[in-house]
């Protein structure tokens, strides 16, 4: 009896997949990043005509006045302050070899967050800020940090803070591999996965402002501008890697390794379509 119930639930899941898998319309296969970013931003400004474009970086707090007031209150004593202070200290502390993070980045790492991720034409892949920080550590004989929280969140919090207000400036160089990375990121963003059959877009394009259980879903536009974030739900700070992996597990998909190609590419895509919106990180979320 039990096995029959299990099998029938699996059959039901399969039937649901079949129903949702029917393609309604097919997008062009050749990506047009400039036009697509314009359409992406227009979608959200049309959907939320009262929200200014730059305010979307405040995620769920941009969705209505009550939420916005909550955000203003929270910013009086921001819960990410401890992490920010720790990140500032870590950033200035030299490695054992005497060098520091500043030696690995343009402008000594100050005010550069808005340029990440970028497409590295030598490597032929997307390089995120989290990845660059760990590569900096390893190049200087230090062990890499976990990508999801604590030290990595503190370092990226400080770097984001030094870029506050600077608009995302993600570039796609004239290299077919860069365009492919953008397209792969876009595909990942819209692909349904996990037993719940959700894509990133199911929540953050189709339902921003709506509740999923007790939480208000953030719009996809500007969603990375506020990273890293302090989340009450996490009881601490989390990086972009943490956001992607937990999104996957929440929809009952096995997360990929942090900084796997898919996550790097989706960060590239999501950052590119938010070009022009200001960096607001570190942020705080419910």
């Amino acid at each position: 009896m039990r096995s029959a119930i299990h099998l029938s639930s699996a059959a039901l899941a399969l039937a649901a997949l079949v129903l949702t898998a029917v393609p309604i319309a097919v997008a062009a296969d050749t990506p047009d990043p400039v036009g697509e970013a314009r359409a992406f931003q227009k979608f959200f400004t049309d959907k939320f005509p009262k929200v200014k474009l730059e305010d979307f970086v405040n995620g769920p707090y941009s969705m209505n006045e009550d939420m916005h007031r909550q955000w203003q209150d929270k910013e009086q004593f921001p819960p990410y302050d401890f992490s920010l202070e720790a990140g500032k200290e870590m950033f200035s502390k030299p490695f054992k070899n005497g060098k520091s993070y500043a030696d690995c980045f343009a402008n000594q790492g100050i005010g550069i967050r808005q340029n990440y991720p970028y497409f590295d034409e030598k490597e032929g892949k997307v390089v995120t800020l989290e990845l660059a920080l760990n590569r900096c550590r390893e190049a200087n004989g230090e062990a890499p940090f976990s990508y999801v929280k604590d030290e990595m969140a503190a370092l990226t919090a400080y770097m984001a803070f030094t870029s506050r207000g600077k608009p995302f400036n993600i570039k796609i160089p004239d290299d077919p591999r860069a365009l492919e990375a953008y397209q792969n990121g876009k595909r990942y963003f819209y692909t349904r996965r996990g037993q719940l059959n959700f894509s990133c877009a199911s929540c953050h394009v189709q339902n921003p402002g709506e509740r999923i259980r007790a939480e208000v879903l953030a719009p996809a536009i500007g969603i990375l501008n506020a990273m890293p974030i302090y989340r009450s739900e996490w009881g601490g700070m989390g990086t972009i890697s943490r956001r992607f992996t937990t999104c996957n597990s929440q929809i009952r998909g096995v997360p990929l390794d942090p900084q796997s190609d898919e996550y790097r590419d989706v960060e590239y895509y999501l950052s590119y379509v938010s070009n022009g919106l200001p960096i607001s990180g570190p942020g705080a979320r419910p």
């Binding site: 009896m1 039990r2 096995s3 029959a4 299990h6 099998l7 029938s8 699996a10 059959a11 899941a13 399969l14 997949l17 079949v18 949702t20 898998a21 029917v22 393609p23 309604i24 319309a25 097919v26 997008a27 697509e36 359409a39 992406f40 979608f43 876009k186 595909r187 819209y190 692909t191 349904r192 996965r193 996990g194 037993q195 059959n197 894509s199 877009a201 199911s202 394009v205 189709q206 597990s249 009952r252 998909g253 096995v254 990929l256 898919e262």
Partner: protein
Amino acid sequence: MSIIRKAARFKFTVSLATVLLIAGSAPVFAAASDADFKNAYAAAEAANKEAGSLRNQWTTTSAALAAARKAAEAGDFDKAVASSKEAEALAKASIFQAISEKEAWKAMEIR
């Protein structure tokens, strides 16, 4: 035949089919063996491996596989086989999802 009678006959047929389906799926005639578990588990694991190659495994598949191993260790092979079959069905659904989404994602794109 009236509509009510037709509806009643249809309802009976559906109920009968459901009973037969459940009876056919449940291991009522013989207890499962270690070999049954190993076969069922291997099939589930192979399907989950294929889902992994498509970068689309489900956490529920992993949980069902773990439940199957735990039941087998406890000597409950009926439960171990049932959990293995559940894992296989879930893994196959995740494979179907990954394959259909290769094109279906385009329908969701903002344009």
